[in-house]
Amino acid sequence: MSGPPSRRPVITGVGVTAPGGQDVKEFWKLLTDGRTATRRISFFDPSPFRSQVAAEADFDAELSGLTPQEIRRMDRAAQFAVVTAREAVADSGLDFAALPPHRMGVTVGSAVGATMGLDQEYRTVSDGGRLDLVDHTYAVPHLYNYMVPSSFATEVAWAVGAEGPTTVISTGCTSGLDAIGYAADLIREGSADVLVAGATDAPISPITLACFDAIKATTPRNDDPEHASRPFDASRNGFVLGEGAAMFVLEDLASALARGARIYAEVAGFATRSNAFHMTGLRPDGREMAEAIRVALEAARLAPEDIDYINAHGSGTKQNDRHETAAFKRSLGEHAYRTPVSSIKSMVGHSLGAIGSIEIAASILAMTHNVVPPTANLHRPDPECDLDYVPLTARELPVDAVLSVGSGFGGFQSAIVLAPPGRSGT
């Protein structure tokens, strides 16, 4: 490791499709109003399930500009990715048609791929679970693209005209952070000049409800859907499933400056570690997440005191919120107590692999507006969660450097540091 890298990945475009907001503007309004987009599930009758609430996006594929054939061949999660990528591209002001295609790449995070498509297609080819030898004559022609979600990334590549490195990163619920870490590396090492990167998931489907019911990971608070997601609150009892996507345009700082682009943030540091402990459980000490935070800060050449805001994983499970609080204390020391921490999952739910990128979007918007989104539904803090979680109301404060973290099934623990380009590496 010798000196700061000469190429520095910066975010110059952002797009969001989230529950309660069809674009970046609506998404940010929801967050800063402290409103929640969680509701009783409307996509199908959820009454057979233990947890019957979710944060659903009011997404209309046709109104969002997709053609009938695009709609037919893509799972909902792929549709989110393409529509959201187009918003990010437009926002960047970059003339993609003028760029050499082989210098553009795509990285899409997704934890569970085309779950909705697979669930529905299995139901059909098995005739409601009756056939063990499922009937291929009833399969849709695009089932292969549901099976292998790299189709999400190639769809985005086609939509933006990219012919460079294209892949899906699928590390469970850290996918959305890890995809940006991966894309930033491609810029840094020079494998591409522009990356369209982010994450998408659309998991609100019977199989997902059933699998989270089975481990009691989702909340059974069905009588009060609007207040069901309660990160850091003493009464929290599980997460609320969500869906959506956030996509970004990443490019090298020098070229962004040369074209006078608006720069949201530099991806100043990123690291991921594994807990090697349990596929779904977390050790309470937060050791591996703390290590990821330490390494991400070191890569950004920032000290704990430089962090102005922490965008938390804050899923609202008993275990996670304590684990994460411990990780912040372990990595940031006393500064953890002075730093506002919030979880937007209280408002937009937990969209599995997508949420890491949606939280990066919230983080860079916090930097842009100098406003920190609140943790909704936090009335009675858990005594073991004793940091400043910005309850209920958004807060104005100068936001320069942000830490965002994620934790996923499989033991993945990731941390990303976002900062203005002048701030890191100095």
Binding site: D132, V134, Y146, S150, T154, S170, T171, D178, M279, G410
Partner: protein, 411 residues
């Protein structure tokens, strides 16, 4: 100066062998393992052949605690990881806790496990879905389970890029080693030979529907009509060169170069991009086309895709100027697992100075390829190129380089 990434351990799971020695002996002998599907009754489907792994008894390799929570591909992957670490002479638990990572590629996750839970859901109800479903079918499961089994707390990841993914994972592992991680186990093991996986693969439109195992998967043959799917793959222990040298590790080779590209949509009027991926991998390795001693082809066995690959190879190396082979004709296409298995074969080919053959194919005169068929060919190999392509136009290329024993010694 950037550190080199060395391959210091190999674990394979192939239809032609579960041990390195068995696999390599079969590969050099041209002994294929493609046959009728036995894992379910495939007689009602248009495709009926597969490269299945037989003789793998999970109970012999894994604790019973892991069996109810794992798909077949995860069981195979766990056993393969054990063999790779053993082959490297390493117990990762002895290394500092954040020094070893695991980065795998996945094609379709634990598809058979998912099939069984989907059947339970739709035939009996949500309460019949397993508590393990939330992770047993997702794409990240092999990395997670390998991490837990061996106590790997370093940087880990999972890539999905269809059959190109196996190389993308190894490239991502090399990035982590360059950033300071001592060791990463990387590659892929896939298995989705179950009715639901079969039906999904059929919709990809690339499966051979022949019943003659010797005439079913024929890349670069005028008679090519698609591929036979297989199961398995390989995991490679990748190590920082300095770290490997210090512990006196045996070295199979160096991950010398890599590049990936994406084809435009077919209706765009633009050219495919495989050639650029190959050239990028050569440039990244700092070698000229003439330095490459053999090419392990992707070998799609779809005439249009064979033509694109043959043309890209001929353009980079010249017509019939480099030996090309596709030992995957013996195993079927293993999806993400294919390219890591080719990397393993490339390492052994460099070690033994021999290029394994492509079986069954009668090379078409339409392609300017020097295809190694029939018998293995002796060749002193310094660099080998491996090509892997995925649906949607994903192209990845990687160069492995021989490492002199003197460079590997700790002096």
């Amino acid at each position: 100066m950037t550190t080199a990434t060395w391959v210091t351990g190999l674990g394979v799971a192939a239809p032609t062998g579960l041990s390195l020695a068995e696999y390599w002996a079969a590969t050099l002998a041209g002994r294929g393992a493609i046959g009728p599907v036995t894992r379910f009754d495939a007689s009602s489907y248009p495709a009926r052949l597969a490269g299945e792994i037989t003789g793998f008894v999970a109970e012999d390799h894994l604790p019973s605690r892991l069996l109810p929570q794992t798909d077949r591909m995860t069981r195979l992957a766990l056993a393969t990881a054990d063999r790779a670490f053993a082959d490297a002479g390493v117990n990762p638990a002895d290394l500092p806790e954040f020094d070893v990572g695991v980065i795998t590629a996945s094609h379709s996750g634990g598809f058979e496990f998912g099939q069984n839970e989907l059947r339970a859901l739709w035939s009996k109800g949500g309460q019949y879905v397993s508590a393990y479903q939330s992770f047993a079918w997702f794409y990240a499961v092999n990395s997670g389970q390998i991490s837990i089994r061996h106590g790997l707390r370093g940087p880990s990841s999972v890539v999905v890029s269809d059959q190109a993914g196996g190389l993308d994972a190894v490239a991502q592992a090399r990035r982590q080693i360059r950033k300071g991680t001592a060791m990463v186990i990387s590659g892929a093991v896939d298995a989705s030979i179950c009715p639901w996986g079969w039906v999904a693969q059929l919709t990809g439109g690339r499966l051979s529907t022949r019943d003659d195992a010797e005439r079913a998967y024929l890349p670069f043959d005028d008679d090519a009509t698609g591929h036979v799917p297989g199961e398995g793959g390989a995991l490679l222990v990748l190590e920082d060169a300095g770290h490997a040298r210090a512990r006196g590790a045996r070295v199979y080779g160096e991950i010398a170069g890599y590049a990936a590209t994406t084809d435009p949509r077919r209706d765009s009027g633009r050219e495919p991009t495989l050639q650029a991926a190959i050239e990028g991998a050569l440039a990244d390795s700092g070698v000229e086309p003439a330095d490459i001693g053999a090419v392990f082809a992707d070998a799609a066995a779809i005439p249009e895709l064979d033509r694109v690959e043959a043309e890209a190879i001929a353009k980079v190396f010249g017509p019939s100027a480099v030996p090309v082979t596709a030992p995957k004709t013996m195993t079927g296409r293993l999806y993400s697992g294919a390219a890591p298995l080719d990397l393993a074969a490339a390492c052994l080919a460099m070690r033994d100075g021999v290029i394994p053959p492509t079986v069954n194919t009668r090379p078409s005169p339409a392609y300017d390829l020097d295809l190694v068929t029939g018998a293995p060919r002796a060749a002193a190999l310094r660099h080998v190129l491996v090509i892997a392509r995925g649906h949607g136009g994903l192209n990845s290329a990687m160069v492995v380089r021989a490492v002199d024993p003197s460079a590997a010694a700790d002096h």
